[in-house]
């Protein structure tokens, strides 16, 4: 069986990307509304994870394996961002 000729059905990709987009809208709602600052950091973290998922689905849909590199880089970078935000808050608290 040649996997190169198999494609993801259009409706599956459409459904998955729609679900991810709705999830991202909900996370953006929490980011905008979030009563406290930690809530917003949680929402940012979630948006980063959703971006990684989005990229992987897109890689499968377009059959471009190189898009997975983007997912790897986002995963590596965003963690630093979350920790930096939290550390900034902690520093502000101790001063």
């Amino acid at each position: 069986m040649m996997t190169d000729h198999s494609v993801l059905p259009d409706w599956v990709a459409f459904a998955a990307l729609t679900m991810l987009a709705v999830a991202m809208l909900l996370a953006l709602y929490r980011l905008a509304k979030g009563p406290t600052l930690p809530d917003r950091i949680v929402a940012l973290d979630l948006i980063a994870s959703l971006t990684i998922g989005f990229t992987i689905v897109f890689a499968i849909y377009t059959q471009q394996v190189r898009y997975l590199d983007i997912a790897a880089i986002v995963a590596l970078v965003i963690f630093i961002g979350t920790v930096a935000y939290a550390t900034y808050l902690k520093k502000k608290y101790y001063d």
Binding site: A16, V42, V65
Partner: protein
């Protein structure tokens, strides 16, 4: 054909768990319970997506980079949730009123724990 079915199933399951995380972040009442939704579910969703990618591309490169992403995500997600919830508790973020027990609240083990009055002073000053 069967390969397509497997890939479709994993992609849809991953999207479902990602959506679940977002709904949880909207629905849960306070930061700590939101953290439960925002830590576990997206990591699991990404794992499912990557399983789908490995089945779809079926080559060495995809497997290697997928393994790298999974290991990194699963090592860092707990650290991120730990540091956020710790900062949230230091800042006296409001905790849900039905929380049964909070043993971190008045504990002298944490260095430099301030009272709420001091925090509001620092924020205003």
């Amino acid at each position: 054909m069967i390969n397509n079915l497997i890939v479709s199933f994993f992609v849809l399951a991953g999207a479902f768990f990602s959506l679940l995380a977002a709904v949880g972040v909207i629905r849960f009442p306070d930061v700590y319970t939101r953290m439960h939704a925002a830590t576990k579910a997206p990591a699991f969703g990404i794992l499912l997506f990557l399983i789908a990618a490995v089945f779809f591309f079926a080559d060495f490169y995809t497997s290697a980079i997928s393994l790298m992403i999974v290991v990194f995500i699963f090592l860092t997600a707990p650290v991120a949730s730990h540091i956020i919830s710790r900062v949230a508790h230091l800042l006296n973020t409001e905790i849900w009123s039905e929380t049964s027990i909070d043993e971190l609240a008045n504990d002298a083990d944490i260095i430099g724990k301030k009272s709420p009055a001091e925090i509001s002073d620092a924020e205003n000053g």
